[in-house]
Symmetry: D2
Subunit: 330 residues, 4 copies
């Protein structure tokens, strides 16, 4: 059994065609700190991230996911997972290191998203002006913008959800907590975790049948009240809200979905429940249940069902362009 080799989602690399405005969104809007910059990338962190960063923002022609990186629990655990990935024929190979962490192993999931595994990290050392009053907190709570605490999870679009889910559970050691199975037996969503948190990695069927796309990345705030506050605040920054604060049925997470200026969907999330049962059977939702909307009978907004990055259809590109223009140039 592979459970326990991987510790947690370490960071995400997000691609943006609007690097300046995207940085402004994450720094002023979400309240993250720009910890470092290197070439075309800026490295950002929430006040609760114990590593140097959880978001690498990289300039690119199109929005989307660069890669996502998972921290292994130990050097041996890292080796074990690399061996399993290679056995599954999905390996790419080692890269020497990146800012804040040691050597990392690159591979792809069955849908083509690029993943990395690593173990060695630099602990974050706050500069003087970000030193916290409470030593059990990595960084000062500045309260700026939505003041997100840390990276929470990533939601990936996939052509074959069952295939990706099986890879995640059998090769990487994720646990499968919730899912959607359509009437024809197709698995159209899978909620996966490395911990008691209800999800850290999600796969959802790509309505455009494209590969390697991103649905959204999510940052954590501590209360539902802070999600509401984020909505109050982000409209003042002219950030386009796609899906206003409400509660998901799956995972019971409280959400707010917006678009960052590069066109990627970003969630501010809180709430949900913990899975303590080590033998938890996944809760599988039916097509009929899904048709009832979210937890409080809120209908899911249309774009949520098809839009991902990079856009895979001219409608998506038009949609993304509108989002990009909402937030004024600096």
């Amino acid at each position: 059994m592979s459970f326990g080799d991987l510790a947690h989602l370490g960071h995400v690399e997000l691609l943006t065609p609007e690097p300046e405005r995207s940085v402004r969104f994450f720094v002023d809007g979400l309240g993250m700190e720009a910890e470092a910059a290197d070439g075309q990338s800026v490295f950002l962190r929430g006040y609760g991230d114990y590593q140097r960063y959880s978001l690498k923002l990289t300039e690119a022609e199109e929005p989307g996911l660069g890669h996502l990186a998972i921290r292994a629990r130990s050097p041996e655990a890292l080796e074990r997972r690399v061996a399993a990935i290679e056995a599954a024929g999905r390996g790419i190979g080692w890269i020497e290191s990146d800012l804040g962490h040691g050597r990392a192993y690159r591979f792809t999931d069955p849908d083509g998203h690029v993943f990395e595994l690593y173990h060695e990290v630099e602990q974050y050392e706050p500069p003087e002006h970000l030193r916290p009053v409470l030593r059990n907190q990595p960084q000062r709570f500045t309260g700026r913008g939505a003041a997100v605490n840390r990276l929470d999870h990533v939601n990936l679009l996939a052509v074959d959800v069952a295939d990706c889910r099986t890879f995640a559970t059998d090769v990487l050691g994720y646990r499968h907590y919730e899912g959607i199975v359509l009437d024809d037996g197709t698995e159209s969503g899978a909620w996966l975790s490395l911990s008691i948190a209800a999800h850290e990695l999600i796969y959802v069927a790509d309505a455009r049948h494209a590969r390697g796309r991103l649905h959204h990345i999510a940052f954590w705030v501590d209360t539902r009240e802070e999600v509401l506050r984020a909505a109050d605040l982000l409209i003042e920054h002219l950030v386009p809200i796609e899906f206003a604060p409400s509660k998901h049925t799956i995972s019971q997470g409280f959400f707010l979905y917006v678009f960052e200026p590069g066109g990627n969907r970003v969630e501010i999330t809180s709430g949900g429940y913990f899975v303590y049962d080590p033998e938890r059977e996944p809760v599988l939702w039916t097509q009929a249940e899904r048709s009832r909307g979210q937890a409080w009978e809120v209908e899911t907004v249309e774009s949520f069902h098809y839009y991902g990055t990079p856009p895979a259809h001219e409608d998506d590109r038009a949609y993304a362009a509108r989002s990009r223009e909402a937030m004024p140039k600096p």
Copy 2:
């Protein structure tokens, strides 16, 4: 100027064809206390109501508003307002008294809704099991159900909003804080208050062009978090949610709209702002602004635009019937 003669909305009489199930909704779902019963009526109160009740629930063939009652600030203030109403030709006459208050003057607004004015009241005396620990609170906080604090406001549908609004400001002394004016100059909504609270009485254009109908009555809870909790709780009671928790543009009130088993729309509300400016000019919203949805760009649900009680169209009746069936028989 008549400002100051009327103190506040005292109570509402709600008609229900499902009296047993409606009582159960208000007692178990909203957490109100049944303070008294008389004939076909049950009198209910929130834990923060200083009078004996704020809701009179009366069995009737169809749902809707029985009457709404406003407390005058003094016996003299009552006489002054009665004289003004009679001068406006809208008076009906005095009734001797009702549970918990002295004689009252009945009249109609220009749309035909029945109002009462009264001054003398009985202070609420809690029975032993409802005696509060803090003496500045009328009743124990039981925490049952959504645990609403008190009646907050009433929203009435009207064929001619401008006419009703003018009656409310010029004859009753309400202040006009916000409104909607369509491109053709029609006034389609008016938010009125007797205090610094952003609204106590609302008129909205009746899409069915019927008279004397009710849009909703609203009960106050102290925080947005309690509105969310009400949604979590009411779905467990199988109460149909019409419009899930979100934030209004007008008044910035945080809302949750549900249907009680009789078919009337009920809001659980919190938040909003105070109007301290004694010379406040109403904030008038345009048709274009209204088309942008609620405060966080949430689209208003369709039924919210036309449904009121009593139903005025066969579509409404079908809609009401569905609502009524959602909550199981006791």
Copy 3:
């Protein structure tokens, strides 16, 4: 009856021997905007204040209250109250105007605190970068620091509380909602309001038997959760907390008390209840009831009972000095 002539607390002038650091506290810590500066004064506002400012911060040798200003409901109401004040022998005279408002009448309460009454005001016009998305809000919600909404109330120390309370109710038209009466019949606290809000002006007995002192000024945030957030944030700014977030028995307000760098006590408050009853009898608390602590049996911190500004005893001065040193120089 004078009820209704005065509309609300307009602004407070606070004296500080540490003007630069005090400005930094109100701007960075409480999230207010510096709307203007004039001579030794800076004028500050919360995002919900409809006037240009609610706080005038003036450099002085010692901390304390400069004056507090109340807005009359109309020019006639202003004249009526001035006549009453003059009849009571407490008038000082008219001043021409100050930033943001027209001519004002100065007087003192029986304890010697300086008050002003005025009617004419400038409406606040936000600069481009502070223009709100929702037009029913005076200014953009920036979310900076504790992001206080508006000035809420002032608490004054007085040698003879009964005398001040009588002046406030009989001459100014305040309503008396709650109070404290000791076993020997002395009135040691009075909670007064011009509206349905549970308090706008408070008098509390001065344990130092000094005259004209300030206990605290209070700013409003919309939820208890925001008061907690303010505590989390202000400790990161090294602001000294005197009395951590909890709930008062009187008025049931949720509180956080801190010291601004000049040594004045500042409250961040939310919650409490509305007084709708126009005939409300004051709820008077006994000595025995007061000894039970605050609403959740929290003991009141010692300094809360004696410390006010300006300090009136060498112990107070030492206490103030410690507070002043807590927050580092800019």
Copy 4:
């Protein structure tokens, strides 16, 4: 390395000399469900507990801990931990089973508290009236009382904290996230976890130098706002509050401490942070840091430092008696 063999705290057995009133406290006050009764015990659950119960309440002469039970991740994990415990010389032996779980292994920690390990469990099946609307929740959210979600953690008093902590980490596989080390090198507190949650098991030095005592058990609610609501509600039930809602420095948990009628201390908790770092070094607090009070400079109440159950001193017994009398007989 033993990390990962044990999954989570399964349940606690609490002893009470006031069984009827204790049941009423947990059912009416905390909103738990009485799932079963057997002999002198009642088995209780929060709405989020996936097992049948998390609290076994057993009549006894004195309050205190009966035992605490931890669920192993698998049958093999259970065998491994039992072997380690036996090797450490702390085993007692197997018991056949108890309500809701299969055979269990009994042992003591170095301070003499009784523990059990088990693996097999019955999944909870809600009766009709407790069936939830959302299938990923074990039971209906009733909202009754403080409506606690689930058992969160246990805090045990110990004569030798270092000894107990070492047993927990080295033999049971707990992770050590935070601690207190006095100036003389004595370890006086240890915060331990089996997951990313900041604590599941806490050891604190027993000021009475007695063995096997309980400091408190804690139940989780989802928001800080719900902790505040619990305080509002429990005072209405005349439950004695020991330590009103505030924020701990260690773990940053938000707390409320009360006494149940049997005399045991019970916490309602929320908040805190997650420990994602698999190589986390414990954050060790010094004596000087501890003297600064809790997170917002709130001084810890005196009884919190010495009182535990069973009482170990005549002062404790007097204290417990007062608590017991606060809540009226049914």
